[in-house]
């Protein structure tokens, strides 16, 4: 029944810790960042199609800053600089905020393209029915654009899951940091440790876990890309 019973004794507590603590951290970061990226990104991307130079310029600046910075630098700025202005985040939340800034920039860029790809007739028909700019976009244009946003959103999910490992570098317990904790515990002296090195097995196993999550999703993104466009 239990596959773990066939493996060496040290495996079970490691898997249990990573599946509970580690996976929880990764899931929280990924869920929060994808949700925030989608909402902020679609909003900014839609606003970018407005005919206002200052607004477009401001959103363009937002996109270029958060896409241009290495993610770890954004994480450090949020985790180490903002506390000087009395804005404090936990390590998990700091990573989620950084990933949301980066992700929303990606989504905004994709949304702008998707919204602009909706034919002019759709705007005209909605206007003829008495919709203003807001109603036209909320009820007619953006819902159609969302279909074309599906493939980039799946890719975003993959990227966010993979990049959530950076949270471990500021001490957030996600999958990679949980793995590191276990590698170091086992390498330590008994009773907590076993004075054994199992870095290859643990990091290699983690790589397989990430592959098993990411590969189907990248295939799905490629499939949706083909079907929807």
């Amino acid at each position: 029944m239990n596959v773990l019973a066939f493996l060496p004794e040290w495996v079970e507590p490691v898997v249990r810790y990573m599946a509970t603590e580690g996976l929880k951290g990764t899931a929280v970061i990924a869920a929060e960042s994808v949700a925030a990226s989608a909402v902020i990104g679609v909003l900014l991307g839609t606003l970018m199609t407005l005919d206002s130079r200052p607004l477009r310029g401001a959103i363009r600046l937002y996109i270029e800053i958060w896409r241009g910075l290495p993610l770890i630098v954004t994480i450090f700025v949020i985790f180490f600089v903002l506390p000087t202005a009395e804005i404090r985040f936990s390590a998990i939340q700091a990573a989620a905020v950084a990933l949301s800034l980066w992700g929303s920039a990606q989504v905004a860029e994709a949304t702008r393209g998707a919204v602009q790809s909706i034919p002019r007739e759709q705007h005209e028909a909605a206007s003829a029915l008495g919709f203003g700019w807001l109603g036209r976009h909320v009820f007619v244009i953006v819902p159609q654009a969302l279909r074309r946003l599906l493939p980039p959103m799946v890719s975003l999910l993959v990227n966010v899951i993979q990049n959530s490992t950076l949270a471990g570098l500021i001490g957030a317990v996600e999958l990679l940091f949980a793995a590191k904790i276990q590698v170091e515990r086992i390498a330590g002296p008994p009773p907590a440790g076993l004075a054994q090195v199992h870095a290859v097995e643990i990091y290699g196993g983690l790589m397989i876990v990430f592959f098993a999550i990411s590969f189907p999703l990248t295939r799905l993104a490629a499939y949706l890309e083909k079907r929807l466009v």
Partner: protein, 225 residues
């Protein structure tokens, strides 16, 4: 404005050498990674596009494995895992190998797509003129496909540079981000240090993006915009 006024410029000036050292290491590892990624991408991309048996399949596995796992896990496996197998890398070795493997996988895809976009009749024309497959590749597929692959491959090179930023915090390789981090842990000047760090990265990345756009328009295939 109050933020600007409160910045301790003196501090940054006194510690400029730490930043310069970090920048040097960042650029050094990026340069190796970019050169390596170019070589790997060229060879494996050609093997993929021409469906060379065995090499093509192995390259596909390599690409999928790298693209579907976090770079940080790859770095950890190289730096903390390999010693278990008796292979000990210093942080510089693990750093350049990691970004080369990572960039090579993405670049293989870039070049594959570029080479496959070259119409088959161009190659057939070369064969008809008596070119052997290697000459046809070097003289026809490479110049055309390489230029098609240029924008996406340069994006990969910029990503390589940005990705070197995780190497310091992960394996203590003294690149720019690591230097910033260790300065902050000694002097607690987070605002000065990280704002400067962000500005330096933005200047590099934005300059590169601008250069890319200029290069793209100069190297664009005639008849394309």
């Amino acid at each position: 404005m109050t933020l600007l006024a409160s910045i301790d410029w003196q501090f940054l000036w006194e510690h400029r050498s730490e930043f310069v050292d970090g920048l040097e290491n960042t650029l050094k590892v990026s340069a190796i990674g970019i050169a390596g990624a170019f070589g790997i991408g060229l060879v494996l991309g050609a093997a993929r596009a021409h469906r060379i048996p065995v090499v093509s399949q192995l390259a596909a596995i390599y690409v999928e494995l790298v693209r579907n796992t976090p770079l940080l896990v790859q770095v950890f496996l190289l730096f903390f895992g390999l010693p278990q197998a008796g292979i000990r890398l210093d942080s510089f070795g693990a750093a350049w190998i990691a970004v080369t493997i990572w960039g090579g996988a993405f670049n293989t895809e870039n070049f594959r797509a570029g080479f496959e976009a070259v119409p088959a009749r161009y190659r057939e024309g070369a064969y008809a003129l008596g070119f052997d497959p290697l000459r046809a590749f070097v003289n026809v597929t490479l110049p055309i496909g390489g230029r098609i692959a240029l924008p996406s491959s340069i994006n990969t090179y910029v990503s390589i540079l940005k990705n070197t930023a995780i190497l310091g915090p992960a394996i203590s390789f003294p690149e720019l981000t690591y230097q910033a981090y260790s300065l902050d842990s000694t002097y607690f000047k987070a605002v000065e240090i990280y704002v400067l760090l962000a500005v330096v990265y933005l200047v590099i990345v934005w300059t590169l993006s601008l250069a890319i756009r200029l290069l793209e328009s100069r190297l664009a295939l005639p008849g394309q915009t």
